[in-house]
């Protein structure tokens, strides 16, 4: 099974300092946490600490899909 992320502008956080927190909507930024800032970041709003490259995972795609389902 292969799928591509829906948006190249959004990264889910499978990078060095981000991990999923409430799949698929929120990720946890350990850099912010280490700096004692609010570490929970929405994948839609982005995070200034993100390594801005497309991560190979399903978070954004799943979040968009679930958001679409919610609207209906």
């Amino acid at each position: 099974m292969t799928r591509k992320s829906a948006s190249v502008d959004k990264v889910c956080g499978n990078c060095r300092c981000h991990n999923t927190y409430e799949y698929p909507y929120n990720v946890f930024c350990f850099t912010k946490f280490a700096d004692r800032e609010n570490p929970v970041v929405s994948i839609f709003d982005g995070c200034d600490k993100w390594e801005n490259k497309l991560q190979d995972c399903f978070c954004v795609e799943d979040a968009l899909k679930k958001q679409g389902k919610k609207k209906k």
Binding site: N14, N19, T20, A34, C59
Partner: protein
């Protein structure tokens, strides 16, 4: 030795009945006396002897993913009953206990799976167990905050892994947790390879959040005299090993350093002695070092500990009966 000495006990064929108890099944294993069945029956006898010996301090050495796989409550119960007097574990097993204590779960998965698909869904695999990444992250978040708090309360003090586990246990509410039950029963938990686990990541973020001089300080060697105090104060020593590795040798080495050696040993592992690693080393090999007494009550079971250990526990609990009480040592 005469020829007839070698032919004294015939194999009695196992008779399996629909209403058998676990101990009755183990007695049938004893009647066979062969292969893993015979060894498992002997392991029940050795563990029963260990538990009935009120002057014996019982160590559980825990390695391999026993807690994620479902032994968490079994171990917590044994601690409460003081059928374990000291736990020596990998850091990872305690991390997985804490993941559940802090709201996370482990899931039944499969060993035949596309691991890259799991990666893309943020799911970690331990053979056929799945752990969601967010359960790790939420536990990390809470544990890092606990580390911050513990550091604040213990400024200038160096903690052993046992003291750190005690502090964490104090802060938990989950009665099914190993760390919590050890705190309540005053049973020490030693993590001789603690940094080889998620605790390393937890510590590194705690260090970033806290000024270095204010961070919690763990002294890896502080547990050595703590372990030695236990072995020296104990009349007799017993160990149950699930897996092996660093936890097994930490117990054996403490027994050696106290000049005593172990009186009882049950080792359940699938590892083999030929490659020379400690986990697969036979108990006889351990006798050569003086870590286990030559006349110790001992048995090694080559089996999956996740299956063998609950059978041993169930059979021995049945033999002991409801009224049995163990005071705990040392």
């Amino acid at each position: 030795m005469e020829r007839e000495d070698l032919l004294r006990t015939p194999v009695t064929h196992m008779q399996i009945k629909s209403d058998m108890t676990v101990n009755q099944l183990v007695q049938q294993f004893r009647n066979s006396g062969s292969f893993a069945a015979g060894r498992l029956a002997s392991a029940c006898d050795v563990f029963e002897n260990m538990v009935r010996d009120q002057e014996c301090t019982i160590f559980l050495a825990l390695a391999g993913a026993m807690v994620p796989a479902g032994l968490r409550l079994t171990i917590a119960d044994l601690i409460r009953r003081r059928m374990i007097d000291a736990l020596v574990s990998t850091g990872a097993n305690m991390v997985h206990d804490l993941i559940e204590a802090l709201g996370g779960h482990h899931y039944q998965g499969h060993w035949l799976v596309d691991d890259y698909l799991l990666y893309k869904y943020h799911i970690y695999r331990i053979y056929d167990i799945f752990v969601p990444e967010e359960d790790f992250v939420k536990a990390d978040e809470k544990l890092i905050k606990m580390f911050d708090e513990i550091a604040g309360e213990n400024e200038g003090k160096k903690l052993s892994t046992n003291e750190l586990m005690h502090e964490i246990g104090k802060r938990l509410k989950d009665p099914n947790s190993i760390v919590r039950s050890a705190y309540e029963a005053n049973v020490p938990i030693f993590l001789p390879a603690m940094r080889d686990s998620e605790f390393a990541f937890i510590y590194s973020i705690h260090l970033e959040r806290t000024k270095k001089e204010k961070a919690v300080t763990i002294d890896a060697f502080k547990e050595v005299p703590e372990l030695l105090d236990i072995t020296r104060q104990s009349e007799r020593l017993g160990m149950v090993v699930l897996g092996g590795g660093v936890p097994r040798n930490s117990v054996q080495h403490a027994a050696l350093m106290s000049g005593k050696g172990l009186d009882y040993a049950v080792v359940i592992t699938t590892d083999r002695p030929e490659p020379g690693g400690l986990s697969g080393s036979t108990i006889e090999e351990t006798v050569s070092w003086g870590k286990v007494k030559h006349n110790a009550n001992k048995i090694m079971v080559i089996n999956d500990a996740l299956m063998a250990f609950p059978i041993v526990i169930a059979a021995v609990l049945e033999r002991l009966g409801e009224g049995f009480h163990r005071k705990g040592n040392p």
